[in-house]
Every structure is written in C-alpha cells, then in structure tokens.
Symmetry: C2
Subunit: 332 residues, 2 copies
DNA sequence: CTGTTTTAGATTAACGTTAATCCATAAAAA
DNA sequence: TTTTTATGGATTAACGTTAATCTAAAACAG
C-alpha cells in the first residue's frame, strides 16, 4: 500500500516517532539524522497523511470559508485575499457558497464543524427564522466575519463603513442638485444592504430632503436585476436623474438598460456603483463607485482568524478597512 | 471535551459500533434502536468527526479542485457545476487556484494528495520544465480534466471542441469579407489557446487565405490585456476590421479600447468573444461569442469523477459538451 | 569523582471512528 | 425435537499519526 512513517523508520532504523519529529523539523533531532530521514522519505516517495496528523493533533490546519455569491467577482477577490494569507500561514481552505441562502449557510457551518476546521470566515446572511447569531455564537472554534456583520457579533468582524460610504455618494449627488435618485438596494438579509440604505437616508436627512419610498427597490444584486429594475422604473414613468446601486454588478445592468432606452450616462442620468470591481473601470462608460479593499479585507480576516486560532484567549475586536469614492465616466 | 460515539454508547447502553452503524443507517440495526440512538445523539449535540471517519475508512469524501484563474467568471461557473454535483453525491470540495502557474498547480496536487482527497478535477496548465502529464499520470487516485487537456491524457477529459468553435467564428468573418482579423490568443500554456489558434488557422486555410503572424497576439486573458493590446495595435497602425478574442474578458477590454478610440462596434470593427459569460449579454454592445456550457462542464466532470471513484475498474473515456455560436450586437 | 543537566532518541498510548469477526437469541425448517 | 438461518448487536483491532513520558549516554559543574 502507501508509504507511511513506519516504512521510513524501518528503512533508516530510527523509531517512528523520531521520523515524525525529523520530518516536522523538531529541534530535538540532530541535523544528521534529519538529513538521513528526509532523504529516505523522498526516496520512498513518502506522502504525509494530513488526515491522520489532524486526527492525532486535533488541528486540521484547515479553515472553512462561507462565501455568499459565486456570481459576484467581489467575493472572488475577497477569497483571493483569504487564500493568499492562508497560504502564508500554512492553512488550507474549505470553500463553499451560500448563494445568499441562510439555510444553506447553517448547513455549511455544520459541515465545516464535522470536518474539524480550525476556524471559520463567513460572509453571513441573516434570517429571522434561523437564529444565525446563535449558530455562530455557540461555536467553539474561532470565527471572523468579512465585510458583513451579524447583530451582537460585531467584534468578530472586519468591516468597512457602509453607512458612511453610501452617504457620501448620495450627499455628493444631492449637493449637485439631484432630487430624484433611484436607489437599487441589495438583498434584505445582508448587513450591507441595511447600512447602505441607512447611509442613503442619512444623506437625505442631512440635506433636509425627503426620500420617497418608491425610489427604493430591493434586488438580489445581480447584473440582470439592475437591468430589469431600471427597465421597469422607466416603464412605469418614474422620473430620476441619478441611480445609486448597491453594487457594481447592479450598476452594469443599469448602464445596459439606460443605453437601450436612449438615455445617456452621465448627461441624462448619473450612475454610482459600489465595490469597485476590477472590471468596473472597463465598463462603457466606466463606473463611478466606492472602492472597497477586497483583497485586503480577506487577508485581514484570515490574519485575524489565525491570531485567534493560535491564541484562544485573544479578545475579539472589530477591525476596519477604509473605503473611498472613485469618480469615473458614469458621473459628471 | 467534545461528544463522541462512546458518549452516546454510554448514554444508550449500546456498543460504540452499534451507535456508529445506527447513525450511518446500517440496515442491521433495528429501527427502534436507531431511533433511540439518533435521539440521544441530537440530545447530546453530537457532531460527527469526519476526519476520524476518513482516517478509518480511508475515504475522505472530498475531492480536490484545481482551478485556473480566479479573476475569470468562467471558472466560477464551472466550479458551481462541480459544487452542485458534488453536493448531490455527498462530496466536499477542496478548492484552489493556480492563477495559470504550472508550479503552483503541481504544489496543489501534492497538497491534495496529502489531504487524502478521493479524486481530483483540474483545469491544467502545461509547462515544458515540469512534466505535468507525468504528475497526473502517476496519480493513484481518479482525476478528470474539465475544459482543458494535457497531451496523452485526453481520455481523462470533459471537453468542448475549441478547434471547431473558433474555426466557425473565423470562417463566418472571412465569409463576410473580413480580411484583416486581429486575433487575441490566450496564455501559451493552456490547451484551449492551442486549439483555438488551430481553429483560426484552419479557417484561413479552408478559405485559401493567408494569416499574417503579426495579427496574432498572446495574452493572459484578462480584461486589461484586451484593452492594452487593442490600444497597442491601433497605435502601431495595424489595420483590422474584426477582432476575435480567446475569451469574453479580453473582448470586454477590446470594446473599451475601441470605444475610446472612436471606433464603433460593429460598424467599424466586429468583435467576437469566447465562453459566453453570463455578463457578456449586458456589455455595451452585447458580445457575440461562443457559448460553452460551463455549469454542465463542471457537473459532468464531477459526475464522471464520482463514477471512477466508486468503480476503479471503469475505463477512462473522453466526454464532450457542445458549443454554439451566439450572435449579438458586437457583430453585424 | 560525584551529581546534575543536556542531548538524542525510543516506548507507549492515544485520537474517534469503521471494518472484520464473532456471539447470542429467536424464528423457521427439517 | 433438532438443526439451520436470520436478526441484532457486541468485541476487537486497526487507520497513520503525534503527544507524553521515559531512558541512556554524554557533557558539565562543583
């Protein structure tokens, strides 16, 4: 069958334990012995069995990542940050997408627990029926939320200020004289939607203006939603001179719809996205948006998680990454 | 510490083995006993230890997925197909990206072996220095390539006919009178680039026309490459009336560059992509492209892999998914 | 030269599960 | 009645590693 430590032990005459320690670089094994053992290992084509190691050491060196939406490159970037950082710390990633389903998220977390992950990074969804904060709260392993939060667990988060980010967008538009701003909000079960909506409201309040509720439309955040919602708004004769979107994917769909309806951007309608996807600068017109440091968000989350895995007495504390407005061709 | 089978055994009075069998639904345990045990398990908050199970049964119910480029939604779709199918068969996925680096790919495969995956699905890269076909050829576990191949291992593949697909695009353009077609090829180390280039050449040959080599430019396949290459081609005064791209991401960059240079699509230049990303229909103008059934590609790969895992005598045989041309606004 | 520490490695016992075997008891067949 | 065959479960031994403990020899201090 396959080669194990004992085969190396037999070949070299050392004990299994010595072989194990040597291959792990334990300082209690002399350099000479280590060299002999390493050579024997590679000669035999030894492949370490990480499962057995995990079992005995009760550390799997694996972390579970609960991502939200596989269709949105935003998450790909965050995950790349997680992955890169994980590699740096010697961790492996078990990844799965919830596609924004809270039930699926709960199943995933349970599956991760079965797999004995050392920690979890999640982009969580909340659902009134499933007590999600509780699901995480009961976890006996470290966990970090990246870019989203659940009430009561903010100290487990790496966040960016969505209220502030979205408010500055809308204030900017209001100050330029826009009064009818169509707002494409995100899915109702994620914290970002809530916060960005709050940002919009704050902006209107700060300028002592009223925000009409029929100017707010919720969507899942996919490109086709932006397209369909804009078409629909135009069809029902809604007047607007600017559109702010929950994310860049929505904004791309918006651009398509506006163009098909012979409205030019930004002269007829100004459009703002959110996230600053890499591809957004290549859209036609290029998208004005709010930059979120996606890669860094993932990297910081992983970094923080590892810190908690390696020191379980470390107190949790919210960390932040900063956003900034980016003005491109979709606004004046 | 944490609850194990023995705790349930203690509580119910049955043996550890009986508990194990009951929870796995073994038919040799009576329904009554199974019910008692299941209830006890959930009362105790039992979480099965998949690591221990893997270790003993030497089946991890995990498959390794080697994806290529995290920035391209093409792969996200394929992976979604893999994931969905994996879930159906009760498998978990260990996912990592090579970002088209053959070295990283080799490292990943080795890591997967350490983790005792039951099989591997890869989108492989080849490299003259690393004998990649050998790396896979020596594998003692089942493996499938999705959408790409390595020479000598085509029977491990689920493929689509790239030669045919790209040829039909170019033949179409040649038949419409285009003579100067700029070809944005893909990265040199992937089979698709090779095949699609062959398709282009076949098209020219079949129409008894010459393809000038300076009309072929290689790129990594990212959106910024399409943008930069088109700019560069225009700057050096290259004449062309059509552009065929290795993939849709490149084509998006192309569209941006052409627009900035006041060339209109399709009247001045016709543009073809490849892959039919979901978002391509929302580009401005929407992209003509070659549809590749990405989700299905992943699902079939997973399905095939599972068949091989469950029957190791099953002979490998190439499987195919079909592509088709899609005409949208970027062509006439 | 004795007693103590250090070094390098060996021994033993898990980790939590599943596979392989074995053993009752009861029902069915002879 | 005796023998077979299910049925339902118990016992025992791994799986390949690592942690905890122990031992012999060498090095060192007093």
């Amino acid at each position: 069958m396959s080669i194990g430590l004992k085969d190396i032990a037999q070949k070299t005459g050392f004990s299994v334990n010595t072989v194990s320690r040597a291959l792990r670089g334990d300082s209690r094994i002399s350099a000479g012995t280590t060299a002999i053992i390493s050579r024997a290992a590679s000669e035999l084509g030894y492949i370490p069995n990480a499962i057995a190691a995990s079992m005995r050491s009760s550390r799997s060196k694996t972390i579970g990542v609960v991502s939200a939406d596989s269709a949105n490159p935003f998450f790909s970037e965050v995950i790349r940050g997680i992955e890169e950082s994980a590699r740096h710390f010697g961790y492996q990633i078990l990844l799965a997408n919830t596609e924004e389903s809270a039930k699926r998220e709960a199943d995933l977390v349970r599956m991760f627990l079965c797999r004995q992950v050392d920690g979890i990074i999640a982009m969580p969804t909340y659902d009134k029926d499933l007590d999600h904060a509780d699901l995480y709260g009961r976890l006996s392993i470290p966990f970090i939320f990246a870019g989203r939060y659940l009430d009561g667990l903010k100290d487990h988060c790496v966040l960016h200020d969505d209220v502030e980010g979205q408010r500055s967008v809308v204030e900017h538009l209001l100050d330029k004289g826009h009064r009818n701003i169509l707002c494409l909000a995100g899915p109702k079960k994620v914290s970002n939607t809530h916060d960005r909506l709050a940002g919009i409201r704050e902006a209107f309040e700060s300028r002592h203006l009223a925000l009409e509720e029929n100017y707010i439309v919720h969507a899942m955040g996919h490109i086709e939603d932006g397209y369909a919602i804009t078409n629909h708004a135009l069809n029902r004769g809604l007047e607007f001179s600017a559109i702010v979107c929950f994310n860049d994917m929505l904004a791309m769909g918006v651009l398509k719809s506006l163009h098909e309806n012979n409205l030019s951007v930004p002269s007829d309608v100004e459009v703002f996205g959110y996230d600053n996807l890499y591809m957004s600068q290549f859209m036609q017109p290029s998208l004005s948006t709010v930059d979120v440091p996606k890669f860094r968000l993932g990297a910081v989350a992983m970094e923080t998680l590892v810190a908690h895995i390696e020191d379980d007495s470390l107190p949790y504390a919210q960390r932040n990454v900063s956003t900034r407005l980016i003005f491109r061709e979709s606004t004046r």
